[in-house]
């Protein structure tokens, strides 16, 4: 298979984050298997990609701050905290589910 191949993933937003992404909670995406350097794409790459390509809302800082997912957002890879999976360095696999959850504080 060619290195230009795309891999299908599902990206979801909840806890209010969906408002930054056209109010859509679930996005079926096809992302390149390799980045511009030829390395396997990671969740870190995906965060940048979402910010640049998917997010139409101007308030980028509500999603990414200082180059990292902003505090108060949990990132889950196949329903596990991304800290259990290598965080931003995790290499995306076909059919992965990446969930971004904004922590709620109301009660």
């Amino acid at each position: 298979m060619s290195s230009a191949e795309d891999i299908p993933i599902i990206v979801e937003f909840t806890g209010g984050l969906e408002m930054l992404f056209a109010d859509e909670r679930k996005h079926k995406l096809s992302v390149p298997a390799k980045d511009s350097k030829g390395d396997a794409v990671t969740v870190g790459w995906l965060v940048e990609y979402l910010c640049d390509e998917l997010m139409r809302d101007m308030r980028k800082e509500m999603f990414v701050l200082d180059g990292h997912v902003r505090p108060g957002i949990l990132v889950l890879i196949n329903d596990a905290d991304w800290e259990l999976e290598g965080e931003a360095t995790y290499a995306l696999q076909p059919n992965d589910n990446i969930l971004f959850v904004s922590t709620l504080h109301g009660g």
């Binding site: 909670r25 949990l74 959850v101 009660g107």
Partner: protein, 301 residues
């Protein structure tokens, strides 16, 4: 464990009979509930249903902390209060209701907000804490004092159509013991930017959404107590990762359980390198408001 032949009062067998026959509860579980004390921080949309079911289940001592008064805008979701109680302290209103539901328990009213100064005195009186508050400052404060006093913490939150639930510091082992459950700071080491924090007052909330989360808090509390897992000695099971329950009314499926990390090796509160102390906390050297930033929501998220 009691050795009397009839360890419960005659009325208790009638009142709690339907839950005592549930597998895993039994007389043993009912006695644990009777001997347990639970602190509910916040008598709002989460605290109301949580308190109702915890009192229904027969938890012997129930404390409620809240400095607010009942407002008409609360009533769509804060179901222990009532129209005639608008203006009354929420804690007093809630306890009036709870006494009419179950007069056989001890209720403690704490009618000011939890602060770094008063938190040790209040929380130390209880076995288990429910965080039913609505701001990051209180969530970090409650987690910190629970770690310091080794109390398990059932934390929930809700906004608009979504809710979240997590059991923290369970088992409630000493800071530095990696077999203890993670604390709020393990999961959220940095507070969210203040402008990203939205309250139910500003963002809105569906009553049954916060209601479901509050009832689930009562369920987690009941299970922890009845199974004898309140203390570290009671929790002999293999260490499990913590998990968080996510609820989104409009998602399919609406409920989702996700796996969280265990204690964070450098956690400020619960690790061997923790900088948190009772003295530091109660002296006010930890400024939770400063830590979390100003509280003027300028954004809808």
């Amino acid at each position: 464990v009691t050795h009397e032949k009839w360890p419960l009062a005659a009325e208790d067998y009638k009142r709690y009979g339907r839950q005592m026959i549930v597998p895993n509860i039994g007389i043993q579980g009912q006695l644990r509930l009777k001997n347990a004390s639970v602190l509910i921080v916040g008598a709002g949309g989460l605290g109301c249903p949580a308190a109702a079911y915890i009192a229904g289940a027969g938890v012997g001592t129930i404390g409620i902390v809240d400095g607010d008064e009942v407002e008409t805008s609360n009533l769509h979701r804060q179901i222990l209060h009532s129209t005639s109680k608008v203006g009354m302290k929420k804690v007093d209103s809630a306890i009036l209701y709870l006494k009419s539901l179950n007069p056989n328990l001890k209720y403690n009213a704490h009618t000011s907000h939890l602060t770094p100064e008063n938190s040790q005195g209040i929380v130390s009186q209880y076995d288990l804490v429910l965080d039913c508050t609505d701001h990051p400052t209180s969530r970090y404060l409650i987690s910190d004092i629970c770690v310091l006093l080794q109390k398990p913490l059932v934390s929930a939150s809700a906004l608009r159509t979504d809710g979240q639930l997590i059991v923290l510091n369970s088992p409630p082992l000493l800071a530095g013991n990696e077999a203890g459950g993670p604390c709020y700071r393990c999961v959220f080491p940095k507070p969210p930017p203040a402008e990203s924090v939205v309250s139910c007052g500003d963002g809105g909330i569906l009553g049954p959404v916060v209601g479901v989360m509050g009832v689930l808090q009562a369920l987690e509390a009941t299970k922890l107590i009845a199974s004898g897992k309140l203390t570290s000695s009671g929790s002999e099971e293999a260490k499990k990762d913590a998990s968080m329950l996510l609820f989104s009314t409009n998602s399919n499926p609406p409920f989702r359980s996700v796996r969280l990390r265990s204690r964070r090796p450098k956690c400020f509160a619960c690790s061997a390198e923790a900088g948190l102390t009772l003295e530091g906390l109660s002296s006010g050297s930890l400024d939770y408001v400063l830590f979390c930033g100003i509280n003027v929501p300028v954004s809808i998220l």
